[in-house]
Amino acid sequence: MKSHHEGMAEGSPRSQFVTETKSRPDLRDPTVVLSLLEADQVVAAKWHSRFGRRRLSPGVRVLLWGLRIYVVLMLVAVLVSVLRALHGSP
């Protein structure tokens, strides 16, 4: 795992030069664009990398299944409740 504090995109020397220059930067220059973005913020970098699957512990699996069953049961309850409301029963 890389550090989350390797350096700041806006704090890099190239970025400082770009921001301290008063005129608008020339964004046709790729190095200017790259100097303003974080390394994992560039679309192509995101396209070529993925966060891998995490290992799901038994506890997490039980939690996710429990909540899924909960949602299904509750949706049935909503359906019953709405049908009752639409047909005017108490």
């Binding site: 790259l34 396209w47 996710l64 909503v78």
Partner: protein, 474 residues
């Protein structure tokens, strides 16, 4: 389009705050830059310039930084003050007057604030949307469940937004087809700019009109001492049909904490290009949104209290019927403001919810998913956005469509689908591989788990009351 000319041999992603220019892959990335990167870099340059100004003048520079970074938080909360939500708030004012629901609304916004702040951190640190992270970290099986909840909830909610638009403009005698068609044009017009910043500012400008409920409330001449008393004591507690009270409690909760908000704000934070150093501003943005939305929600309750005082049964009212019923008590101006507020609530939510669906689609199917992309580069994204809005708008115009069914269920479904969404959120935001040192602290987890448990209890109460109606008569 995405740089598809290279085989997608995925590497493991590592969040980093290092500048892309210092990356070992900088040379390769320079040749793969997209329109989206260029627009985002332009936004980052403006923020960096504002930060330079902040060093010289703390007040004006600080204000400029906030102005540039405010957006996703304010938008998500004002958009969630949508047509069915304002209808729920209005129903509590008309049925129970000033009392329990006033402080309860503030509590629900605090709950919303707790969970939405986590999406700011997730988006700023990982630069990935919520749907993408769920699919990456939990796989397609669980990802599809999460998407199923989102797609169902979003579509039903989108339909109710156009019902709100139709009802709000119906007060002024505008025909449904014109009202809904015009609203659809506004949704499509907002995305036609091809720029996240412009889209965000247009939508924010529209969202500020949620404040129309404030003059409507003032015209209702609320008893401020009763409002103060309700805040302190949480009383009077609503009395009467307990099932109706329970449904209203769920509806009001669903008016502030819903799955689409998590997906939308994280994706918007990513699209805006926010970075970890912007988290503080993102928190302020979220807090401001929650504060504004809670004030406007309370205003909607207060605006309909005259119906309670005059014993008018509002249990079957739709949005515009509230405005018509209020006219004798708050005048034509007040009623017109109320109707315009319902229209605004519908249109802003239609824009943001359809965008939320499109972001999630693009993230899951790895197609371009940014409002900074031109149409030719991200047409599936724009197609989902405009298509979902168009289908929902069309459904509202079908004479026999089950609109009442949808309005009755939409906020309740949102609450019931929220606990699994919160479980994914809490697992993601506590994942050190994603968040590094920015994982949740102890109290953030206590608050997040607390909100989840409260929502589960509320949902189970509803389920038990539905299965065993006699329980509520004890």
């Amino acid at each position: 389009m995405e740089p598809r000319h290279k085989a997608p041999a995925y590497e493991t992603a590592h969040p980093t705050t290092a500048s892309a220019i210092t990356s070992p892959a900088a040379h390769e990335l320079a040749g793969l830059l997209t329109h989206e990167d260029v627009d985002r870099a332009r936004d980052r340059w403006r923020v960096a310039r504002a930060r330079l100004t902040e060093r010289r003048s703390r007040i004006s520079g600080g204000f400029r930084v906030l102005w540039l970074l405010i957006g996703p938080g304010v938008l998500v909360f004002l958009a969630e003050n949508d047509a069915p939500s304002m209808l729920s708030y209005s129903a509590t004012g008309a049925r129970f007057g000033v009392g329990f629901f006033i402080p309860f609304v503030v509590l629900t916004f605090l709950m919303g604030l707790v969970v939405q702040e986590m999406t700011v951190r997730l988006g700023a640190v990982t630069h990935r949307g919520h749907a993408e992270l769920i699919f990456d970290r939990f796989g397609g099986f669980w990802g599809l469940f999460a998407m199923g909840d989102l797609v169902l909830g979003n579509f039903l909610t989108l339909v109710t937004e156009f019902i709100g638009v139709r009802a709000g403009l119906g007060f002024f005698g505008i025909q449904p087809a014109w009202a809904v068609g015009g609203a659809l044009l506004i949704v499509i017009g907002a995305i036609a700019t091809g720029r996240y910043w412009t889209w965000e500012r247009i939508t924010l400008t529209l969202a500020i009109f949620n404040a129309l409920f404030i003059p409507a409330a003032i015209l209702a001449r609320p008893e401020w001492s009763a409002v103060g008393h309700a805040f302190v004591t949480w009383t009077p507690f609503p009395a009467g049909n307990r099932m109706e009270i329970l449904v209203l409690i769920l509806a009001v909760t669903g008016a502030t904490v819903t799955p689409w908000m998590l997906f939308f704000q994280q994706s918007a934070v990513v699209d805006k290009g926010m970075q970890p150093r912007d988290i503080r501003a993102g928190r302020f943005d979220t807090l401001l949104g929650a504060a504004l939305a809670s004030v406007f929600a309370i205003a909607a309750i207060l605006a309909t209290v005259p119906l309670y005082h005059h014993g008018i049964n509002a249990s079957q009212y739709q949005a515009a019927e509230f405005a018509q019923a209020l006219e004798p008590w708050i005048g034509h101006t007040g009623a017109a403001l109320f109707a315009l507020g319902i229209f605004e609530a519908g249109i802003v939510a239609a824009i943001t919810i359809s965008t939320s669906s499109a972001y999630a689609f693009g993230e899951v199917f790895h197609t371009g998913h940014s409002l900074n992309r031109p149409l030719r580069e991200a047409w599936p994204f724009y197609l989902i956005l405009a298509g979902s809005a168009t289908v929902a708008a069309g459904l509202v115009l079908i004479p026999s469509a089950p609109l009442e069914f949808i309005v009755l269920t939409v906020n309740v479904i949102a609450v019931l689908a929220m606990p699994p969404a919160l479980a994914f959120l809490l697992l993601l935001v506590n994942d050190r591989d994603l968040m590094g040192d920015r994982v949740n602290g102890f109290w953030e987890n206590v608050a997040g788990v607390g909100v989840t448990v409260l929502l589960i209890i509320a949902g189970m109460s509803f389920g038990l009351a539905t299965a065993f109606p006699k329980l509520l008569r004890i």
